[in-house]
């Protein structure tokens, strides 16, 4: 039997992760620090009947000197090198277009790859726009997770296709994240996200069938 409640929990969990990859404003910082984020994530995993493999809680990974904002900047902004923005294009060959002659095609590490083009296409087909700062990285994790959550609400079959094609790079992303120093919070969030996404959505949603 189909239980929509689980799907809703799953969607909520996905958008929670999306939230955690946005620049942490004061409220988000506060909610991470006071444990709200940890509690909600824990509840989310439990509600989806997923194993919770927490070693350290999120608030423990933050210190006064190395706060969430600082870790965000270190991990994603390029203010210090190396850094690894959660953008799909960077983790996949730039283009598979056969007559794409030139240089970039087979390489990883460049923005605006095929996946970005496709995201632009999908978003515009569904009538979505993205904020100015994400204009040329529509395959940013934040956008992809939000869009995935949206698709789950629309049509599970489509969501599954999206899951298969656009959320298959998190492992590579995690590998890059783990190479960085001073970003334990995002390494943990990414580890959990990878755990969550390593389980096929149909297994979660239909788990109680």
């Amino acid at each position: 039997m189909f239980i929509p409640a689980v799907k809703n929990h799953y969607q909520e969990l996905i958008t929670l992760f999306a939230e955690l990859y946005k620049y942490p404003d004061e409220q988000v910082t506060e909610e991470v620090m006071n444990g709200t984020a940890e509690q909600e994530m824990h509840r989310g995993f439990v509600s989806c009947s997923l194993p919770v493999t927490t070693r350290l809680s999120l608030q423990q990974l933050i210190t006064a000197e190395n706060n969430v904002q600082k870790q965000f900047m270190t991990a994603f902004s390029g203010l210090s090198k190396p850094f690894s923005p959660p953008v799909e294009s960077l983790y996949k060959p730039w283009s598979t277009d056969a007559d794409a002659p030139k240089q970039l095609a087979k390489k990883r590490g460049y923005y605006m790859g095929d996946s970005a083009l496709h995201m632009n296409h999908l978003l515009s087909c569904y009538g979505f726009g993205v904020p100015e700062e994400f204009k040329m990285m529509p395959d940013h994790l934040v956008i992809e997770l939000e869009f995935y959550a949206f698709l789950l609400g629309e049509d599970t079959r489509m969501a599954v296709t999206f899951y298969n094609e656009h959320l298959d790079w998190i492992k590579d992303f995690e590998k890059e994240m783990n190479k960085l120093g001073g970003v334990p919070f995002y390494q943990e969030v990414t580890r959990r996200l990878r755990n969550l996404l390593s389980i096929h959505p149909l297994e979660i949603i239909n788990g109680e069938e």
Binding site: A100, P101, K102, Q103, L104, A105, K106, K107
Partner: protein, 180 residues
């Protein structure tokens, strides 16, 4: 069938490397790989010293040692004279690399010993490949050796030309204009 050749006037090269970077852009090469390169030679004693620069790339030999040694015919000579590679047949033994007296082979990420392929699609369209079309000093001139009216034949008639490493019997298809 056309027979292609390349005439190089090395005396005009000023070492800007536009050829190699245009080539790697056109052929989607990894940054480490270049199909053409420049050899630098210093001659003489200060203040009467000079520098020579010789552009090098696959010579598309008429007796290509790389093709002779290839156990699976992955490297082969086309009718138009271009020495080409069928990547699927390559076992990666690198015999062609040790056999080439010009060091023209470059191993790519997939462990295929790649090399300059003279951009046949450009030659067939009557255009110069990227290395030549971007060269400000017009060092390279590709063309049909069997067409008496071709630019390359006219120019070869005007100059004395030489080839590299002829003593190994490779019969290279790149000709260098001899200058004093």
């Amino acid at each position: 069938m056309a027979r292609y050749g390349l005439l190089i006037d090395a005396s005009k090269c000023t070492g800007c490397h536009a050829c190699s970077i245009a080539c790697s852009m056109y052929n989607e090469l990894e940054e480490e790989v270049t199909y053409n390169r420049l050899e630098f030679i210093e001659r003489g004693k200060y203040p009467n010293a000079v520098m020579e620069i010789v552009p090098l790339q696959c010579m598309h030999c008429d007796n290509p040692p790389c093709a002779t040694v290839c156990p699976t015919n992955a490297t082969f000579k086309r009718e138009d004279g271009i020495v080409s590679i069928d990547e699927n047949k390559c076992i990666g033994c690198k015999y062609c690399m040790t056999a080439c007296p010009y060091d023209a082979r470059q191993l790519n990420e997939s462990r295929i010993p790649e090399k300059c392929r003279w951009c046949p699609e450009m030659l067939e369209a009557g255009k110069q490949p990227a290395c030549s079309s971007t060269c400000m000093n017009e060092v390279r001139l590709f063309g049909k050796l069997d067409d008496p009216d071709s630019e390359i034949n006219k120019k070869m008639a005007q100059h004395e030309v030489s080839q590299l490493v002829t003593e190994k019997g490779t019969k290279p298809r790149i000709y260098y204009i001899k200058r004093k």
